[in-house]
């Protein structure tokens, strides 16, 4: 892959990362606006998915009656099995119009002072991408968290409840700290998933080169730009630049996954001792 990206690397160097132009006509390519779009959509999606996933995991381990646990666990895992192209199809044809017409104007008028919630522009925009990404990382984060919560020793939970604290106080004071490392790893894996998702994002994000904060405007991520130009590359330099984008993505996902897997392994070893 480094070989494939060489023309672009030698032409633009590391300045590629800071350059926010992507112009096939002028043969000028830079990754900055896609890096920005990736960071913005993935982080907002993680911020939405994190509390939801914690809620789902707590529901499945602490609250749900026994007969509900297995089916809901299976349903959450089924959500993970839906192909991204199907989620994207739903995102562009169903979710996008609903968000554009019913949700975004309300968010803009209520929270318009935050730059993220600017004037709604197109139906395909970063906000739709954020929601789609949230849906896609929800199952992975919640099913890992569920396993982590199941691993909290019963004695610890009883020790806390025996003091006369409520269930939530026990969860916050004992379960969360106990599972902290693993939950962090689950979040990192979720982030990695969001950053690397190409298809569904390409379908809904619209495509826009440039750095801007308004979620209700079109944007682009590294992965979506790669997928969007699959047939349209006109020059060798453009192809090389696309491979350069993929290289950035590869390096990032390698780091994310190695870090997360090492944490997961450490946690698993620790729990193996106490379980």
């Amino acid at each position: 892959m480094i070989d494939g990206a060489r023309p672009s690397i030698s032409k633009f160097g590391l300045g590629f990362l800071a350059h926010d132009v992507w112009n096939p006509v002028l043969n000028q390519f830079g990754a900055a606006s896609f890096l920005f779009g990736t960071a913005l959509t993935s982080l907002v999606a993680l911020a939405l998915a994190a509390p939801l996933s914690m809620g789902i995991a707590l529901f499945l381990t602490e609250l749900a009656p026994k007969w509900i646990q297995a089916p809901v666990t299976a349903l959450v895992e089924t959500l993970a099995a839906i192909p991204s192209v199907v989620i994207g199809l739903w995102g562009i044809l169903v979710l996008g119009p609903v968000l554009r017409n019913d949700i975004e104007p309300g968010l803009h008028s209520a929270l318009g002072w935050i730059p993220l919630f600017g004037q709604p522009q197109t139906g395909s925009n970063m906000f739709t991408a954020v929601i789609v990404l949230t849906i896609m990382i929800l199952p992975i984060v919640s099913s890992i968290s569920r396993e982590l919560f199941l691993g909290v020793p019963n004695e610890l939970k009883e020790g806390a409840l025996g003091l006369g604290v409520t269930r939530w106080e026990m969860v916050r004071g004992v379960m969360f700290p106990y599972a902290r490392g693993g939950v962090a790893a689950a979040m990192i894996l979720g982030l990695g998933r969001a950053v690397g998702e190409a298809i569904a994002v390409t379908q809904v994000i619209g495509g826009f080169v440039g750095i801007q904060w308004n979620l209700f405007n079109a944007g682009d991520t590294l992965a979506s730009r790669i997928a969007a130009e699959y047939q349209g590359a006109v020059s060798n330099l453009q192809v090389a630049s696309l491979i350069y984008l993929a290289l950035i993505l590869l390096v990032f996902s390698l780091i994310v996954n190695i870090v997360a897997q090492v944490i997961v392994r450490r946690v698993a070893r620790k729990q193996g001792l106490t379980r």
């Binding site: 939801l52 529901f59 099995a81 192209v85 199907v86 939530w168 298809i199 390409t202 993929a246 996954n257």
Partner: protein, 297 residues
């Protein structure tokens, strides 16, 4: 709540507030679970409702016609044929290698190699599919052109860690006493592995393979660069680029024509049904295998 016993309440300052917080948090957790289930319901229902009307035999047998007048019945026969060919080839590539890797790691490799390689497999599993697509593009497509073979190779790369990991999981369940009994009879290690251990894990391997097939059958990104510039006629030749179901859905979803959307929904419904049945079946098979091996322990 004045009915609370005084002796108990004497020390429980702020219990009412704490109980309210607890109740609030419990409701949030219920709500979160409800949202997840509702999302699944809405997505599946959207696909089913919109896809059902176009779901007929034409979809599977007729080819797409570019710039067709409205009265021509179109299908996605080329995409279904392509998916069959590419996923079949990918499975043929990934299955033996995945099983061999798992057998080697679980039965023969020293712990350091086992840990290192399984970490690599997990990391490989986390690499975005689009990156795999670009990688195979650089490896096989540049200079040779797209082909079903290249697409199958990309999917096989995605399948490999799935197959290996699930096979390793079942192998770990095979009781050591079985291995020892066979080795004790003087049967060599490789014979033991092949004729004693492997048959025990058959159910698990099938489960893992079905799940892996279900996963890659819906993958679009790796195929965009390897097998997407295609003819509309149905072809079974992996030497050429073949249309696939996910790529077809992807392209149709970006079309402005509602008729194209309808076919996209129908294809999505077929894909979804296949994936859901495969996962449910695999899940059922997995519990069965686990129970069988658990009982043998």
């Amino acid at each position: 709540m004045s009915a609370q016993p005084s002796a108990l309440m004497a020390r429980s300052h702020g219990l009412r507030r704490r109980r309210a917080v607890n109740r609030g948090m419990e409701w949030m957790a219920w709500l979160a679970a409800l949202i997840a289930v509702a999302i699944l319901g809405v997505v599946v229902w959207s696909v089913a409702r919109r896809g059902a009307s176009e779901l007929n035999l034409n979809l599977l047998t007729k080819s797409p016609v570019p710039f067709a007048p409205p009265n021509v019945t179109q299908g996605l026969a080329n995409a279904f044929a392509g998916t069959l060919v590419i996923v079949g080839l990918a499975t043929a590539m990934a299955l033996p290698i995945g099983i061999l890797v798992a057998l080697y790691l679980n039965e023969f490799a020293p712990p350091s190699i086992k840990n290192g390689v399984s970490l690599t497999l997990d990391v490989l599993n986390g690499i975005p599919a689009v990156v795999i697509g670009i990688f195979v593009f650089g490896l096989l497509v540049v200079g040779h052109g797209q082909s079903g073979m290249a697409g199958a190779f990309a999917l096989a790369v995605l399948m490999l860690p799935l197959v290996s990991r699930s096979t390793m999981e079942v192998l770990a369940l095979v009781p050591n006493s079985l291995r020892e009994a066979s080795l004790g009879l003087g049967v060599p290690r490789w014979r033991t592995t092949l004729s004693i251990v492997l048959p025990q894990t058959l159910g698990g391997i099938v489960t893992g393979t079905v799940l892996a097939v279900a996963r890659v059958a819906g993958e679009t990104a790796p195929l965009l660069f390897t097998s997407s510039i295609v003819a509309n006629a149905t072809s079974w030749n992996p030497g050429h680029a073949l249309q696939t179901v996910p790529v077809a859905i992807f392209e149709l979803s970006e079309s402005p024509d509602p008729a194209d959307h309808a076919r996209a929904w129908a294809a999505a419904l077929v894909l979804l049904l296949f994936i859901m049945f495969a996962s449910l079946g695999a899940r059922w098979l997995a519990t069965r295998t686990r129970r069988k091996l658990g009982a043998a322990r």
